[in-house]
Amino acid sequence: MSAPSTGGIRRTAAEMAAALADGSTTSVELTQAHLDRIAEVDGAVHAFLHVDPEGALAAAARSDERRAEGATASALDGVPIAVKDVLATEGLPTTCGSRILEGWIPPYDATVVARIKAAGLPILGKTNMDEFAMGSSTEHSAYGPTHNPWDLDRIPGGSGGGSAAAVAAFEAPLALGTDTGGSIRQPGAVTGTVGVKPTYGAVSRYGLVALANSLDQVGPVTRTVLDAALLQELVGGHDPRDSTSVDQPVGGLVEAARRGADGDMSGVRVGVITELAGDGWQPGVMARFRESLDLLVDAGAEVVEVSCPHFVHALAAYYLILPAEASSNLAKFDAMRYGLRVLPEGIDSPSAEEVMRATRDAGFGDEVKRRIILGTYALSSGYYDAYYGQAGKVRTLIARDFDAAFEDVDVLASPTAPTTAFRLGEKLDDPLAMYLNDLATIPANLAGVPGISVPSGLADEDQLPAGFQILAPALADERCYRVGAALETLLEKKWGGPILDRAPGLEGAAR
């Protein structure tokens, strides 16, 4: 029989896994359907930097063979996935959205990539991102921006706009992202998808090309809370190659998501963070946030207001810590061992140092240069204490705010991002305005606590998606999943279906 035009791609990953299990589809079919969808819409969306049809189909065929032998490798064996281009993939280009790594093919796999390969998930390709994950719009990709499937003239969020857009546009049921200050959650919010930043250390960072090592975390990008839980359980867990990996299990996520889907929130205390709501936030975003809270209250939750007074300093601390760590991380891109090598013009027999300087000028975009210089400044002798040192102390104060808040409540809540998706180019040359997008997501990275963004509905002003963020104490990721799943169930009941049912179909959108 001929595959339906959608090939079942609008199903959730859990539904796809069930279809694979009951034999109603095969991994090759499913993978081909997504490759077809990518071929159809990615010209318009540009979620992918590299697509790997051969590799994905070969992996899918192996998955089908395993299944035929009754030896599936995991619950998601055969369900295809997209991977953010900041994760090292052996044999597949890994550019981090930067010219300086154009054509680089890693000789090794990131731990999370090795785990999804071992679990039998065909990798469709690598998704677009702001260069080295620096940005909130994916416009800082050296390979051109990703377009928001809800409105192709708008940003898909960032830095992981590619992963979020791929999932929102049904180009992939699952994707891996990374979140340093909101790069999974904020794209989730503005594309109507689910994004989770796990507890720092709950998922291995080995093979994640570091932006800011003490803030980065790999996490799932999906259309449902349950799918996110399935993916985090699959890629998470201790990794001896990552010294900051926690060696205690962060589990019970799938169970929590299933339990939350009952929609019963009795006994759950939700704290609304005073500092992350109110003036300056888009009214439609706030309206959806308040409605969501009301639904949780109706389901039995108790909602209280909680103050985290130091959160107002989070953005400043973040923009000192991140550039400092990044300036050092990105020093390795020097044209000596891999990646781009540019010879300076007008110099005969240039020195290594001259080649480094010319290459780094040609290979890095403006935002990367800005942050490298800022970080170099923040670490310079004489400025260290005032900037990097002070930022580390503010980090302590923010972590204490979280500790105090979690003595009173089970989870904290805020809108994920202050606005819905803005227009491409709108904030490109106004770094500060761009940075404000991550206001609500940054505190979790500074303190290492987990956070999830689930769609809260469409803002009245522009009919674009907004996100609802749930934060939990470190290692209590399951709380994010439980409350997130409950809210998802309650909202979908109200809407009569998933939010993405209201997104444009994009058929024939290729340009």
Binding site: P107, T244, H313, S327, R337, P431, G448
Partner: protein, 99 residues
């Protein structure tokens, strides 16, 4: 408080090994000043009694056993090299000394 001058940006670019041309300096210096002014707001937020956090989770003593594990072959190691010779990375002439 902090104003970052064009000369300072040029010096930082030199430390960071980025060849910024005049146009880039003109463009970046004022942006950096704005950002710096904004982040400088944290001065004085935390007193001397507040310890700095460098790791979000308080872990210590993560050690590896002193056991050899297989690495890369020379071919794999050199696979991304812009230039190589005699199984070594070929790099332009090096000025100055080792540190």
């Amino acid at each position: 408080m902090p104003e970052i001058t064009r000369d300072e940006v040029a010096h930082l670019a030199m430390l960071a090994r980025i060849d910024l041309d005049d146009a880039e300096l003109d463009h970046l210096a004022p942006q950096l000043s704005v950002i710096l002014e904004s982040v400088a707001s944290i001065a004085g937020v935390a007193g001397d009694d507040v310890p700095a956090t460098s790791h979000p989770l308080p872990m210590t003593n993560v050690f590896r056993d002193d056991v050899v594990v297989p690495g890369l072959t020379a071919e794999q190691a050199l696979s991304g090299a812009p230039a190589s010779e005699q199984d070594r990375f070929a790099v332009p002439r090096i000025l100055g000394d080792e540190q």
